[in-house]
Symmetry: C2
Subunit: 487 residues, 2 copies
């Protein structure tokens, strides 16, 4: 049931259903399908054949949506590039993936052309392709297990690797999400996070499969998110914790968003106080743990569930915890989160070694640390690579951050290990103060000491203006040490 051109099938079945809204443009499925056919025809005229890698360097917008579907129609493998990358980073991904063509928009032209030159890949402006008004390419069947997308993971260590996702991965992810959180043809999913990340890309495929609409914001603007929630009938919005916090900051005393089913909150842990603020504002939150290698969601706590409960693995997705010796651990034991599911990637592009390390006996080793409670709920403690080992004790930065976020003067905070001759490493904190904050390092240390074992209390507190984050809003803990702090 999945070996088809989903967009073409959807357009045939519900042509006048709203497909996408972006700025002043709104397309129904028939119109989206027609424009995708023309763009795919232009790519085919340019020599793109099934199996070729087509890269996109596009800011959020209709061109990004069209390219996703046009690549599929061509039978090509989509390589969505991070628009915040340097030209060197782009060139690395283009070469590593063996891309045949790079499609860019006006805003990304200079950097895209530079990267294309370095990597020897042909570059095309999106507008030029679209304006050529090519003969539309007819839809064909797709191999559900063939390559569909290459997503370079932000990888906190080592060089980025391309996670290879298939149509079957995206289908399984959409079905699992629908069976977990529900899906309605009347859904309107707001995508204000980058479409080049799996969390954004998966929204596009889900919407086509369930016949609903996606609302694309060109960039994250908290006021505009509130407007879309309140006035444009968004039923779902994908946000990170930082984004949600900013949306709430400017939300004021607006009434609860009537159409909103839930905020899908991913990209890292969600502090308890933030959940409380969202609840008070009438925005139900579904916190999710997911990763690129599993086509987004792995486990999601449904909206309305007890905030102390774990995230529930999606239907058809199994989660286990592995110990240091690779044996499966029981309930409550802390270890590496492992995932088995039809949503798990086929592997890393041209990296048999890394693939073999990540996929063992059908299980994806996520490198993340967590535990399963007795009820089977998943509690994510940390990304393993961020683990601070201090005097033989393990310190999970997220735990320390959660404590500090409960302090009224702390707006944002990141914790990372700093080498220490005596203890191996000691935790340090980088914090962004709220306006009119009065707390100093001594006060924060005292606050922590009341709530944490002594070895977990940061040995230094750096007051900073902003925290380093990825384009998806994930905290880059390894870059904390480079953050300029206030004197």
């Amino acid at each position: 049931m999945i070996a088809q051109d989903w967009l073409a099938e959807r357009a045939r079945r519900t042509p006048s259903q709203r497909a996408v809204e972006c700025g002043d443009e709104a397309l129904d499925y028939a119109a989206l399908d027609a424009r995708v056919g023309v763009l795919a025809g232009a790519l085919r005229d340019d020599g793109i054949a099934p199996g070729d890698v087509v890269a996109g360097c596009l800011q959020n917008g209709l061109p990004a949506v069209l390219l996703v579907h046009a690549a599929r129609r061509c039978g090509a493998v989509l390589l969505p590039l991070n628009t915040r990358s340097t030209a060197a980073e782009l060139a690395y991904a283009l070469q590593d993936a063996g891309a045949r063509r790079l499609v860019h928009d006006d805003a990304m032209r200079d950097i895209a052309v530079a990267a294309a030159d370095v990597s020897g890949v042909a570059a095309s402006a999106f507008d030029a392709l679209a304006k050529r008004d090519a003969k539309p390419l007819a839809p064909g069947d797709a191999d559900p297990d063939g390559p569909s997308s290459l997503l370079y993971t932000s990888g906190t260590t080592g060089r980025p690797k391309g996670a290879l996702l298939t149509p079957g991965n995206f289908f399984a992810s959409a079905v699992a999400s629908a069976m977990h959180l529900g899906a309605l043809p009347t859904d309107r999913w707001l995508a204000c996070m980058p479409l080049f990340h799996v969390g954004g890309l998966a929204i596009l495929w889900r919407s086509v499969l369930q016949g609903s609409a996606v609302i694309v914001h060109e960039r994250f603007d908290p006021d505009r998110v509130n407007h879309t929630l309140d006035e444009e009938g968004a039923t779902i919005v994908s946000l990170t914790a930082t984004m949600l916090s900013r949306v709430l900051d400017v939300r004021g005393t607006r009434a609860p968003a009537r159409s909103l089913r839930f905020v899908l909150l991913g990209g890292g842990p969600c502090p308890g106080p933030l959940l409380g603020r969202a609840r008070k504002a009438g925005l139900p939150v579904a916190t999710t743990y997911g990763l690129t290698e599993a086509t987004s969601q792995v486990a999601t706590r449904p909206p309305g569930a007890d905030p102390a409960s774990g995230a529930i693995p999606l239907p058809g997705t199994e989660v286990r915890i592995a110990g240091e010796d690779d044996r499966w651990l029981g309930a409550e034991a802390v270890g590496e989160i492992c995932v088995r599911s039809a949503t798990v990637m086929r592997g890393y592009w041209r990296r048999p070694d890394a693939t073999g390390e990540a996929l063992r006996d059908g299980w994806l080793r996520t490198g993340d640390v967590g535990r399963l409670d007795a009820a089977g709920g998943l509690h994510v403690l940390d990304r393993r690579s961020d683990l601070i080992v201090s005097g033989g004790e393990n310190i999970y930065p997220a735990e320390v951050e959660a404590v500090l976020l409960a302090h009224p003067d702390v707006a944002e905070v990141g914790v990372a290990g700093v080498a220490d001759p005596e203890w191996g490493a000691r935790p340090s904190a980088w914090w962004v103060p709220r306006p009119h904050a009065t707390a100093d390092a001594a006060a924060l240390a005292s606050f922590c000491r009341e709530r944490l074992a002594g070895y977990k209390v940061p040995s230094a507190f750096h007051c900073v203006a902003t925290l380093p984050r990825t384009a998806a809003g994930k905290l880059r803990r390894h870059a904390l040490g480079e953050t300029p702090s206030f004197p």
Copy 2:
């Protein structure tokens, strides 16, 4: 993602979610799972092994729900028997299927025991099995392509045949329905039609997969349906046209049911006036064409769609129209409806010939007559076996019935062919008058002549008290001639 014991997985994931309500009993998924484990243990103690056929002769109720899931947990093939059958009919199905055991409730005991005696199949009272408090059977994996259920089709001609459905069929059906009509964990699906039909059985599997509740009525009672719609928050209800008509008859001036997403209307064509009545009463209707061999829905017109539009094939389901010479016909041409989908049965149990006739080149030949409009919408004209050929002209009874139903004095009507020496066959009508009807045969014939080609006008009008229908509410046109009419 489908090779699991869905109920066990669901109970592990959302144990406290409401699973089933029946009369005064309400079970969450943990409780349902526990009771299913005990029942499956009792069946296993009685020698039921994977692959064995377990028959149920149970009226709608919790026991019927439990047996469906317990058979799956045993790895057995479920044979749900029609409780309106005669003992001879039951015995035929038991023997044809090679059943190992027949489970019955108190109400069905006499007829079930008689059928078991004739067929030499061991019979067990449901209560005796449940009370034995057996050691619960642990869930195992199911082969998604293995046999799951045997549903004997009502077959208007020939002896009944067992359509063999797999877990994969039910999974594909649930996913397709969710992606077409939506699915929410908060759904509450009212099943007041027999659970031994595919339309009822599919509700049970859908609910488990999407984690929602099913409300089971022991029998169809229009007042109780209205109560459940208005006071118990049903979001979906499956009805036939006759059932809907009766629900509307007693609905009075109640306000629209606020929680109701739609009425799934199947089991035969829906007269236009009935759709209008439902719309006025605020009950949105999704008319569906489906059949046992395709695990229920094939094409469904979404609620709110133009009543003149066709039914839209479900995602992943292809519909084509075949001509007399087996070639595919184009838009608007009338021919046999053919279906290709992951929802299509594996075949008829132990009937290679009938299977070969029904399944050709991966396409299910439904024997039903219809056309696809230019937009791809399916219009079902008739069940082919009911076709009346009169003087070389084809007459589709449903078309004639639809005309007569528009007459204010006609409550229900059936049309069938009666042998005629001159024309081969002539249509006759059997009609149920509304209270205070004044029309006679001459008036009805005149009414038809104004709206139909002459050869389609029934040559006789028999005024009757009721029409013969199957347990699922389908008109049995072949039995019309045996209906006693008013003088």
